[in-house]
Assembly symmetry: C2
Homo-oligomer: 213 residues x 2
């Protein structure tokens, strides 16, 4: 799971760097030192230098980092120098919310289709895209170059759907179903297990209480 | 950020253990070996033993782990032996989706209120809870014991709201806004930055392509 020794921990931090660099760019800032980034982001300057060294540095002594260049390089590393088409499976509230996120489009993730098994949802408009019946999914995937499937359906449905997705060219699954999916090599899965995230909160609340006692 | 030397990485894995143990429980399984759990979960048996050793083991040589006991102990560590009341700020698709999640209630997270600044959403029903106007939030927090605020609003609104939440007793923020929040010590924040998660997918897709070349 590594590329040239870059750990997933570093990769995991890149989107946050990109967010801050994007804001600096928007504010017309042209260069930034690791010290300034450190203050802004609440991580140590040495962590920042170490992280950027993984990709060859990007910085110049006494000048700092060129914001635009750094933004572009990190974008490339994250694969954001191209577009990705995605479909959403599950047109409930969560699926609709994700279809409506304009931010994804700005990053190059293009919303191409949304599907549901519930006939009552078919035809509903999600940001200009009409919900289609799940029975039309295979045909749609065969006739459109879709990279990513977003699963916002219950876990049984998600597990059953994986083969269909993979056989029809899906390369990555963004999985909101509360289940671990079994995919062939070369297919990427990123899980968003919302309950797990909520439990980190309850852990931290209760730990804080135990320590105060 | 540590308790008796337990790393956040271990804590982060506990909800997944809990999910698998919950399924074993539902299927009537009474005990399980680290080897069986390993096969089921796709992690090494030694990782499982190491993780559980952090909390004093729970296992008996030759017997394995008692599923029910392990489930209960991990629940306690995660702070799930009590209930938490939460409100949602932002009654759009994402806020409504989270309000409708029955799973949270099963884990002891009780949905108490939902707020929005859009008057058109006020009065809308989300699983039996009527959307209130954001102006009523302070009063509501003062008169109800709410532990957790879930922020499903844009980043500017989220930043502005933090003080109000903290001053009125909120102990934890589950933040879906695409911004890092500044909170006083003792207030817990857990971020769900959806774009960041999506970028891990694009990174993995493009890395896979680079390695294939």
């Amino acid at each position: 799971m590594q590329e040239k020794g870059i750990s997933q921990a570093v990769i995991g931090r890149l989107p946050r760097y990109l967010r801050y660099l994007g804001e600096l760019k928007e504010n017309g800032v042209e260069r930034v030192s690791s010290q300034e980034l450190s203050t802004l982001m609440g991580v140590t300057a040495s962590q920042i230098r170490q992280d950027f060294n993984n990709f060859g540095g990007f910085g110049q002594q006494g000048y700092g980092y060129n914001v635009d260049f750094l933004f572009t390089e990190i974008s490339k590393i994250l694969g954001l120098d191209r577009e990705y088409n995605f479909v959403i499976i599950g047109a409930g509230n969560l699926g609709s919310a994700l279809g409506n996120y304009l931010n994804f489009e700005r990053r190059g993730f293009i919303f191409k289709g949304i599907f549901d098994k519930n006939p009552e949802l078919v035809g509903k408009d999600v940001r200009g895209v009409k919900v289609k019946h799940i029975n039309d999914l295979e045909d749609f995937l065969r006739n459109n170059a879709i990279d990513i499937a977003v699963l916002t359906i219950p876990k049984t449905g998600a597990t059953l759907l994986v083969d269909t997705l993979v056989e029809n060219g899906i390369r990555a699954i963004w999985n909101f179903a509360h289940v671990d999916l079994d995919v062939p090599e070369g297919v990427q899965v990123e899980n968003v297990h919302l309950s797990d995230s909520l439990m980190k909160l309850s852990y931290n609340i209760s730990r804080y209480d135990r320590e105060k006692k």
